[in-house]
Symmetry: C2
Subunit: 339 residues, 2 copies
């Protein structure tokens, strides 16, 4: 029962259903244009915890609890949780998922983690290995700044190409039964390194990986940009989005109409002082779990490609002179099981 | 086609074959009792690189190339690589797997990563989603010491319960065709936190998770300790191994005869000054890829449970007063597809 179409893509014979999603975001994200799509908006970034790391774990734990309540599918009926985050050793997810009665697969794909989680969750669910999987990730502005950049108290200046890590968690429950929206295809990215070494320009580092995966997706599946109502990247921001669209255009694909970027959607770029836009695993995850899922359920979107991108360095490797490898995973979601 | 037996376990209808493995270890590991099982032993921990992190990446890249040469299955015929390591943001795997023509799923399960990788690789391969998957991980004494403990130059004293991170990479290629050994079952662990907070006693932190997964494995599959020639944990070391065997004994399972621990096997505990034994993702990975696989191929072992354990904290969370959650994933490997 070979379900591979092309080396990097799967067309599911039994497309899993996205039963329900949940999203919780920080105060700043709740002041952005998508505020009405999120299930919960925090008042402050600590959320009653004494460290930002514990607050990020709480984001994931509460998002997981929320999607269980919304779907009435609890951990006793979920075989696998697939999750990760940006904190060293993925402790955001590890502490959050402690206590749930589910097998746990920890993932690291930097900001591509939500698409990685949905991809592996879809494989497990579609293959008959689980009735339900829970796919989750998060990011937090303060845990990311202190770890990847400078202490917040230092007040370091940000370059125009830098992105603002989103404080958010997004999650979804997949099922081998359900009425959609369905994950019909996935295209899983290779690691692409085009020699970018500017740690303040992640969009440029990730755009070539996004282009590679997107072109592969079109080739493998036979779909074209106009088959989609929305091609959502997360999170190339302003700089990376332009590069992606231009590379696609040079390769004969016009995606200017369908393409939007989660990092550009979640903030009002002009008014919220976020420079090139949002980033972090939680950005694509919350825009998917909030905006995309709800618009699919309303039938105002019917076929969406969610393609999350990750920059696979750490601050030390960049200091050691290494370039920044990128990766992008695409998940094709539709209200119908067939094209 | 439900392949779930019990909530945490899968019995594969099409058990994937482990086609080939490869292992590369450091100098100290090459001086240990298992030296003859490893494919390559390094002379020094830099291996011609200018940083330890680059050396660890090279370990993974060369191990992947080696398993491809040994099996004559190259990246053009491998759909997915599943890998990870202990360095922040899993850069050991990320830089190593850049350049291979394969889709990449990044994993983080601390020292349980090899079993996580084999588990997900088996699901993907068995489910018809790939012909071949490559499962890989690594660890490096020097990258782990500087990141998790003290600068090596400081010469910090080690407690008797501390373990020695192994410098090694181990990997395997799984196929949906082949003559075995086969992955027949997997039992995937939950996150278990029993309140241990001593960062120098990882074995004690991980043993309850190992016990939880092992008891679940016996319950779900109906197998018993005597069905196995070897129950290999990695890496509980001296302290954690005793705790595991005692917990199992209290629960009615006598595993004293079948149980061995990769961290105790890879070093001569008395002579090599490694205190409670080896640890790190590369320990279980190299003992599996070296000793276990080769003994299975010789039929001197016929059914083995490989159960890798991970401690899911980071140094900061321990400093912040958090306890150490553990996890363990079990992979049942046999020369026969049926019991």
């Amino acid at each position: 029962m070979n379900q591979h179409i092309g080396k990097q893509s799967i067309k599911f014979k039994n497309p899993p259903s996205i039963v329900e999603t949940a999203s919780i975001v920080g105060k700043k994200e709740g002041e952005g244009p998508l505020y009405k799509y999120f299930d919960n908006i925090l008042d402050d970034d600590y959320w009653g915890e004494d460290t930002w790391e514990k607050a990020e774990s709480k984001l994931q734990k509460e998002a997981a609890k929320l999607v269980m309540r919304k779907s009435n599918i609890y951990d006793t009926d979920i075989e696998y949780i697939l999750g990760g985050d940006l904190i060293n050793q993925c402790v955001g997810a590890n502490y959050a998922m402690s206590g749930f009665d589910c097998s746990f697969f920890g993932l690291y794909g930097a900001c591509s983690t939500m698409a990685e989680s949905l991809s592996l969750g879809a494989i497990i669910t579609s293959g008959g290995f689980a009735k339900h999987t829970l796919c989750i990730t998060s990011s937090h502005f303060c845990t990311a700044e202190k770890q990847f950049r400078y202490p917040l108290e230092y007040g370091g200046q940000r370059t125009p190409t830098s992105q603002w890590t989103v404080t958010a968690s997004g999650c979804a429950i997949l099922s081998n039964e359900g009425n959609g929206p369905y994950i019909t295809h996935i295209t899983t990215g290779k690691i692409v390194d085009m020699g970018i070494s500017d740690i303040n320009n992640m969009g440029a580092a990730m755009a070539p990986a996004a282009a590679d995966t997107l072109i592969t997706h079109f080739n493998d599946t036979g779909m074209k940009p106009t088959d989609y109502d929305l091609i959502l990247t997360g999170d190339l921001g302003v700089v990376g989005s332009d590069i992606l669209c231009d590379i696609l255009n040079q390769n004969g694909y016009d995606i200017y109409t369908q393409h939007k970027d989660a990092g550009k959607m979640i903030f009002d770029i002009d008014k919220q002082d976020v420079h090139a836009g949002g980033s972090g695993c939680g950005c694509c995850a919350s825009v998917f779990a909030g905006y995309v899922f709800k618009e699919l359920k309303k039938n105002s979107l019917n076929r969406v490609l969610v393609m999350a991108t990750g920059a696979l360095m750490n601050p030390m490797t960049v200091q050691q002179g290494s370039t920044i490898p990128g990766i992008a995973h695409a998940v094709s979601i539709s209200n119908k099981t067939e094209l």
